[in-house]
Symmetry: C2
């Protein structure tokens, strides 16, 4: 496994792989790798010949007051994980390397970035799409892998790739969960044991949405009310949003009459946690 800190060396190594006719994968991460990332990497190793993992805590996707400084950066452990999974190249650029040209250029996706986390984290998705556009240009992967856990992000990235005709495929992998349903996240590290127990209610509320739809209840107001009810069982949970949206346009809908994204964001103690599921009215 190679570790590259510079854009130039990544380009060189990937070019060599391509000249060997290898299929290139990119798994963009902010490090603090967990079993969710491992699932993405394993999928990449299965699909492709040359797997690149980027580890970069991207400052432009953090809003003022967020956890940029304290975001975990266990680089040695991350590299160990990459090695074990069979990754070929880890790209660990500095902020200087990524934004050294006094960046003035932004990639933005309209509309899809307005609801949910877009409303609560202004500028967040602009940072995500811009850094992904940069990583895609640096690595030029055939396939890039993202997790369904960041559901809105996956939808936004897919739209960017389609709209800008970027020459790659985006694969979105299922959310990996703890046995109690809690979606695996680097930010779970901020939780105490009790908070972790409370956080299991997030997935419970999402499952409840699915069950209500399966029972023929389609009125989103009623479903959301019951989801909030479940979350309120833990007073430590502060709800940021509970939403049911058209899974393609991310627009609010009154009735679950198509594929929808049920999405929850909460704060528990130091952590901001998000989760979502796709619910299809026809999947019973």
């Amino acid at each position: 496994m190679e570790v590259a800190k510079t854009i130039a060396s990544v380009r060189e190594l990937v070019k060599a792989a391509r000249s060997r006719d290898q299929k290139i994968a990119l798994v963009p991460t902010m490090g603090a790798l967990h079993i969710g990332h491992i699932a993405l990497m394993e999928r990449a190793v299965k699909d492709c010949d040359y797997v690149v993992v980027s580890i970069f805590v991207n400052p432009t996707q953090f809003c003022p007051g967020e956890d940029l400084e304290k975001y975990p950066r266990p680089l040695d452990a991350d590299l160990e994980i990459c090695e074990q999974v069979g990754v070929d190249l880890v790209f660990t650029p500095t902020t200087e390397q990524m934004y050294g040209t006094a960046n003035l250029t932004w990639v933005t996706v309209e509309k899809l970035t307005e609801p949910l986390c877009g409303r609560l984290r202004p500028g967040h998705f602009r940072g995500v799409t811009t850094v992904c556009a940069k990583l895609f240009s640096i690595v030029q992967p055939d396939i890039a892998y993202f997790g369904q856990k960041d559901g809105q992000q996956a939808i936004v990235i897919k739209k960017m790739v389609a709209d800008l005709n970027m020459p790659l495929h985006v694969v979105v992998c299922p959310t990996v969960r703890e046995p109690d349903g809690l979606a695996v996240s680097s930010r779970n590290q901020y939780l105490t044991e009790q908070q972790k127990k409370d956080a299991a209610l997030i997935y419970k509320s999402l499952q409840n949405c699915k069950e209500m739809v399966e029972d023929g209840i389609t009125d989103t107001k009623s479903i959301i009310a019951q989801m909030r009810e479940i979350l309120s069982q833990a007073p430590a949970i502060k709800i940021e949003y509970v939403s049911i949206l058209d899974a393609e346009t991310l627009q609010e809908i009154g009735s679950v009459d198509r594929l929808v994204l049920a999405a929850v964001a909460v704060r528990i103690g130091q952590a901001r946690l998000i989760d979502n599921i796709l619910v299809d009215v026809g999947e019973q």
Copy 2:
């Protein structure tokens, strides 16, 4: 020479060229090809093995009320020119083909797009950078060619390519001029013979700027006043701007103490004409 209307067929043809280890050039145009474009294409033919010319009147770079509808589209003559110059592939997409996915994604370059044409044509550069990002992703050229005539555009595109780490080089070719100095432009077609004569004052004013700097006059206010004086010799000329800016940051400066962009935009009759020159204080 091949002519392709679809993104898929362009990708296929370019892929074949790349598999032959050919160096790929892209000359993005809006058609109505003239000797300025021919100079770009000839340079591309000289530098590269496989030259792609795109002909697409990009609606997103026109502002409301501009000449989108009447912009000349002499496709047969354009193809004839491409053939004669030795172009390998002409890409002539429809608007549907380029923006068929209900585009929500934009590439924007801040600051550099604020002065000059950016101020007078809101949204123009966002349309230019977005369509160029798309064309770069579709063709994946090694080198893309632009004219110095659209000086701000060249600076903005270069910044976008640098900031987003796009894997290509941008080559900016000198402005091609009529014998009287008028910069060649597709929009010169809108001019009567008298208006063409008046339009020669644009280059005369730019040359005057250069001469004043060579004579040791560096105060931009004095230089701009004299440039305006020259332009006012033709009452048909309506000045949009006469500016002297830092050639890298495009910020206004009081004194010509570095490489500057002297830029003029005017309206004459039906036409909006722009021109510029780079002036270096040390080039005497």
